[in-house]
């Protein structure tokens, strides 16, 4: 089975975000980059699918500048993906639609039966790319999948929704976006890491379409006001209740 996985290299989840001097972009100078956390579930699911079908190819697709993302993409190869394609483009102006258009253009030529991705990338959190790629492919999409079974061209996906689980069934081809907990991603083995060096990583110059959304400005949330201590022990309870009712207006 041919399996495509779209991955993005994003700031590590414990980054303290700083806004750039232009007020519109994130200052990337001290930011540590990582394979997007949700994409790890997507890669793992793709590898398991390949392993269960016994043959096939898992190909990673990513949009970005090879110099900054190559090392992280290689970690996906170390886990077991067969090869990677990096669409080399200037990412400063990219919006979700441009990313989706670039990915779709490249993935079409690969003719996969299924496309996996993370439910969102942990930078701008738009969660648009899975649906937009699916739309461009003319395929169904199931987003935020927390459990997936595939058999003979049919799939059964579970998504966690408010107060319950939604079960979605369909047939391939399809786009699946991964929620945390879809699986437990493996650690790359030392042999996998050594083999990754020899796996193909193609870099292709790509022209991104003009964005349809432009970021006007970015602002950090205001710092949280300092807490106040109203007293100690049981005597303080009445005062806390009063403040919750009248000041915070939450009860």
């Amino acid at each position: 089975m041919k399996i495509a996985v779209c991955v993005v290299v994003a700031p590590s989840t414990d980054t303290k975000v700083k806004i750039g001097a232009d007020g519109k972009t994130i200052d990337m100078s001290d930011v540590k980059l990582e394979l997007n956390a949700y994409d790890e579930f997507a890669i793992e699911e793709a590898l398991r699918l390949k392993e269960s079908t016994g043959d096939g190819e898992v190909v990673l697709f990513s949009v970005g500048s090879p110099a900054t993302i190559k090392e992280e993409i290689r970690k996906g190869l170390a886990r077991g993906a067969d090869r990677a394609v990096i669409l080399d483009t200037d990412t400063t102006q990219l919006d979700s639609s441009a990313v989706a258009a670039l990915l779709t253009g490249e993935i079409k030529a690969f003719e996969p039966e299924i496309i996996f991705m993370g439910k969102q990338s942990v930078d701008y959190d738009s969660a648009q790319v899975p649906s937009q790629v699916a739309a461009a492919m003319g395929w169904p999409v199931v987003t935020k999948v927390s459990s997936l079974a595939i058999e003979g061209g049919a799939f059964r996906a579970e998504r966690e929704i408010e107060g319950g689980v939604e079960v979605v069934e369909g047939t391939l081809p399809a786009v699946i976006s991964a929620e945390k907990g879809l699986n437990e991603p493996r650690y790359p083995s030392l042999k996998g890491i050594m083999a990754a060096k020899k796996k193909p990583m193609e870099e292709k110059a790509a022209e991104a379409p003009a964005p349809v959304l432009v970021i006007d400005c970015l602002e950090l949330p205001p710092p949280r006001p300092e807490g106040k201590i109203v007293g100690e022990g049981p005597e303080a309870a009445a005062k806390v209740v009063e403040l919750l009712r009248n000041e915070a207006k939450v009860i």
Binding site: D14, K32, E71, R74, K75, A78, Y187, P188, S189, L190, K191, I193, M194, A196, K197
Partner: protein
């Protein structure tokens, strides 16, 4: 809390290959996710976390620097970085991997017959077979050449008699590499678990390396088949066991610095948060001096280990180079742990923090595989040409 990011004061990462960094990072993440959450409990109970063995094997951490037989075939530096990260978790875990890989798999790989390699190495690499290394005896520690354990050639078998002490992994081993004298020459024998006359006893009440199994090996008229002699050790006498120690000591050098990194990291974050006299204690000059000395020694220790590793990769490392790295790593690792323990005040003596566990562990690490003083003498011998320990 932020995940542990390692300690790198001056872009030392640029001295590593992409592959080496990836191997280091993978081990680091695994240690953070799988070791750190459970290690304190094992330490308290005095148990080895054997539930981690299959995972380490799966990743390829056992005998990682050996070629073939299911091993990953890593270079010396990548291997060293694994040891550094494992010991950032706990010295007991690193000890297990050192004994399995450097003290058991390495001699079988280097001195074993093809049959011995086929029989043991794949199982040891995949973690289903565990090994131990029996050199030290109750009366012979720093001076193993004096060992009492004997092997006799009985024609169709060897007969082994003696006792070994302080043997890491002893009770949990499927095979022990026992060093014994045959006609006055030291040789290595593979003694399998369950062989009549061979028994092990757990040594209890350790206040150090508690998450590691330490045992006595007792050999009473143990008959072992002729094919269990490691043929390559037949005519090299003490060079047999000492060459194994050189392998393991190299990993210890990295590991001890890794433990130091864990202590530095904890002392630094504690110091930034703990307020006394109205400011973070990390703002006081005396506190900063300690941090400055710690990070300097970590940086120097790393560079020393790295250079020994690169020499090893070129086949140019001398055992006395390894002695310098082992001695230095353990000395400063322990020094850093002690300082860090102090910097955490009363909290530093509890097991909610890692510093005291590392501090206690490093007392063993400084002692085993050649004490600090013995390595001093090895370096002294190298520079003067005059051996201090031979009369």
């Amino acid at each position: 809390m932020e995940p542990y990011q390692g300690v790198d004061y001056m872009d030392l990462d640029t001295l590593l290959t992409e592959e080496e960094r990836m191997i280091r990072d993978t081990t680091r993440e695994w240690v953070s996710a799988r070791v750190i959450p459970i290690i304190e409990e094992h330490y308290r109970a005095g148990t080895f976390p054997d539930e981690l063995i299959p995972e380490m094997a799966e990743m390829g951490l056992l005998g990682a620097n050996l070629d073939g037989y299911g091993c990953a075939g890593l270079g010396a530096v990548a291997y060293g970085l694994i040891m550094q990260e494992l010991e950032r978790g706990d010295s007991g875990l690193r000890s297990f991997v050192s004994v399995q890989g450097a003290l058991c798999m390495w001699p079988i790989h280097t001195y074993g017959s093809e049959e011995q390699k086929q029989k043991w190495l794949p199982g040891m690499a995949n973690g289903t077979k565990i090994g131990c290394f029996g050199l030290t005896e109750p009366d012979f520690g720093s001076n193993p050449t004096g060992m009492i354990t004997r092997a006799e050639d009985k024609g169709d078998h060897y007969l082994l008699n003696g006792a070994k002490m302080w043997i890491t992994n002893g009770c949990i081993s499927d095979v022990a590499i026992v060093w014994a004298k045959l006609d006055g020459r030291v040789m290595g024998f593979l003694v399998e678990k369950g062989t009549p006359g061979f028994s092990t006893r757990r040594q209890g009440h350790k206040m150090s390396l508690r998450a590691s199994v330490t045992s006595e090996l007792i050999l009473q008229d143990v008959k072992i088949p002729k094919e269990n002699l490691l043929p390559g050790t037949e005519s090299i006498h003490m060079k047999g066991p000492l060459s194994c120690l050189t392998q393991a000591r190299y990993g210890i050098a990295w590991g001890a610095i890794g433990a130091g990194m864990a202590c530095y990291d904890e002392a630094l974050s504690y110091g930034k948060e703990r307020i006394q006299f109205g400011r973070p204690i990390a703002q006081f000059q005396l506190f900063q001096r300690k941090l400055a000395e710690m990070i300097t020694e970590i940086t120097k220790g790393f560079l020393l280990n790295l250079q020994v590793g690169r020499l090893k990769e070129q086949g140019k490392a001398h055992p006395s180079h390894v002695s310098m790295a082992k001695r230095n790593g353990c000395y400063w690792g322990l020094w850093i742990a002690r300082e860090a323990r102090d910097m955490l005040g009363a909290n530093g003596i509890t097991d909610e923090y890692v510093v005291m566990r590392h501090m206690c562990n490093l007392e063993s690490v400084k002692t085993y595989e050649g004490t600090h003083d013995i390595h001093t003498l090895i370096i002294g011998h190298r520079v003067t040409g005059l051996p201090a320990f031979e009369g």
